[in-house]
């Protein structure tokens, strides 16, 4: 129901239809509207800029290839975000396979809250939060995010960084409402624990 309501006001639909009729140039509007957001979602998930750019390109190419299959059951953007999340997960999987034995903190995240190995690595640094530079602070936050377990990280990125609604997250990730909430709750707790360890007093 709500998805249909969403698609009724989907500004992208006009251009999607044009692409479906073979007008490839119309796709450039969709690219210019969404590339920034897609890049940022992917970047926060991968924590690697070049790789994120690479994946973002793949995402748009995949979307273009299968645009004929887009049935407007959800908003185009939601459909695109889902492709982005799937491609990012694939990339993370490849990365894990590649560096299984030299994995730093993506894999062996064995915190009770399902998170944060980065924090144990750098907890000794222990600067009090207020003395840290903004840049250092951001770096610490980024480190903690990339230390989160993948399932928690994606919910945190979509909700707290990208500002998605719970409804939208549910559609993009195809998980029930309760799962979105419980993952987000754990992700936030894990972030708090991690930041406490990395930057000291919050």
């Amino acid at each position: 129901m709500e998805e249909k309501k969403g698609s009724a006001t989907d500004d992208d639909l006009e251009y999607v239809r044009a692409c479906q009729k073979g007008d490839a140039e119309a796709f450039s509007v969709l690219v210019s509207r969404h590339s920034g957001k897609i890049l940022n979602i992917v970047y926060r998930m991968l924590a690697e800029y070049d790789e994120a750019c690479d994946v973002t390109q793949e995402v748009f190419l995949a979307a273009f290839r299968s645009i004929g299959k887009f049935k407007a059951e959800a908003k185009f953007s939601t459909w695109l975000y889902r492709i982005a999340v799937n491609y990012t997960k694939n990339r993370l999987r490849q990365r894990r396979n590649l560096s299984r034995h030299e994995s730093v903190f993506l894999d062996d995240v064995a915190d009770i809250q399902g998170a944060c190995a980065a924090c144990s690595a750098s907890s000794d640094a222990g600067h009090p939060g207020e003395h840290m530079e903004r840049r250092e602070l951001n770096a610490a936050v980024e480190k903690c995010i990339s230390g989160l377990d993948g399932d928690y990280r994606e919910v945190l990125v979509l909700r707290d960084i990208q500002g998605f609604s719970y409804e939208e997250i549910k559609t993009v990730l195809r998980i029930p409402d309760g799962t979105v909430k419980s993952r987000l709750s754990r992700a936030r707790l894990a972030m708090k624990h991690c930041l406490e360890k990395v930057i000291g007093n919050l």
Binding site: Y15, G22, A24, E25, A26, F27, S28, V29, V31, S32, S35, G36, L39, N40, Y43, R44, Y49, A52, C53, T56, Q57, F60, L61, F64, R65, L137, N138, V141, E142, I145, L156, D160, I161, Y166, K181, L184, S185, R186, R188, L189, M191, K192, L195, E196, L202
Partner: protein, 308 residues
């Protein structure tokens, strides 16, 4: 009353008003009397602020153009596939389609007679068919030497014949070959077409092939230009005029949102002059300009509003 551990698990979503009324009331009551949990909530909120304060990363320069270059390349593949397959209403491998074209041509050439071969060959066959089936061409020449080839051209089952490749087709080519024309016809058209129908079909395929060749492949994109201007609509007419005056051909224009994209072919020697004239309209940003030996360059110009 719940203990702090239970409350702690409710705190992360508490500020967002997504918990049930019951839960909210429980948390509120507990917070009123528990310093530790108030501290915990404050730390969670600080964490939340730190996370939401992260700034977005910017896209690299030419990022969207790069994506579109790949998309165009993909679109071209689609178009070529459509041209080849859809008129036939069946999805058959390219080679077989090409073989059929050759076979139809064989009939055509055979009927045109020995004299015709010389006229037809250069234009009809080489280079335009981008498929392995164009390789068998040299044997066509060779087969005209009388001592060559004892290929039994008749009575081969259709499938084998198609797969056999030009050796056997070349056999059909041989003026003295005993192959009856109807046989070749059957394999060529895979249906009860008459000779003239077959020939017509061949003719109708030729222009399509030429188009395929004429459409530039994305690798050949020689010049990408972004023109940033204060007034897009004025600059668009200016750009069009400049393109026309520079002798550009096949100019197409597409306006989407606040951006207009031109595609055109220009003579390489006119390119620099064209670019310098464009810079009179606004800020010109150019990329991927190879030193090409080709005389014609596929040029893409994006006219967009200046970002102040």
């Amino acid at each position: 009353m719940k203990n702090c551990k239970d409350i702690e698990n409710l705190l992360p979503l508490y500020p967002e008003d997504v918990s049930s009324d019951d839960e909210r009331r429980t948390v509120e009551n507990h917070l009123a009397s528990c310093d530790a949990c108030r501290g915990e909530l404050a730390r969670l909120q600080k964490t939340h602020r730190l996370v939401t304060d992260l700034s977005d990363v910017e896209e690299p320069v030419w990022f969207q153009q790069k994506i579109m270059a790949r998309v165009r390349r993909e679109a071209q593949k689609k178009t070529i596939a459509r041209k080849w397959f859809y008129p036939l209403r069946v999805k058959i491998p390219l080679q077989i389609a090409a073989m059929m074209v050759i076979a139809v041509m064989v009939v055509y050439i055979y009927r045109a007679g020995d004299e015709g071969i010389k006229e037809v060959l250069p234009g009809a066959l080489p280079t335009k068919i981008e498929s392995p089936a164009s390789e068998p061409l040299p044997p066509l020449e060779v087969t005209r030497e009388p001592e060559l080839k004892k290929v039994p051209p008749v009575n081969l089952p259709e499938k084998v014949r198609v797969g056999v490749d030009a050796e056997s087709s070349a056999g059909v080519m041989r003026p003295s070959a005993p192959t009856p024309v109807p046989e070749a016809k059957r394999e060529a058209a895979a249906g009860p077409e008459s000779d003239s129908q077959a020939a017509r079909r061949y003719k109708s395929l030729s222009p399509a092939m030429e188009q395929t060749v004429a459409v530039p492949v994305a690798d050949e994109i020689a010049a990408f230009v972004i023109l940033r201007v204060p007034d897009v609509s004025r600059a668009v007419s200016g750009t069009e005029k400049i393109l026309e005056e520079s002798g550009a051909s096949q100019i197409t224009r597409r306006s989407l949102e606040n951006k207009t994209t031109f595609h055109a072919f220009v003579e390489a020697k006119n390119l620099n002059d064209l670019l310098s004239r464009l810079s009179g309209l606004g800020d010109v940003d150019q990329k991927k300009i190879h030193e090409v030996s080709e005389e014609r360059i596929w040029l893409i110009i994006e006219v967009t509003k200046h970002k102040f």
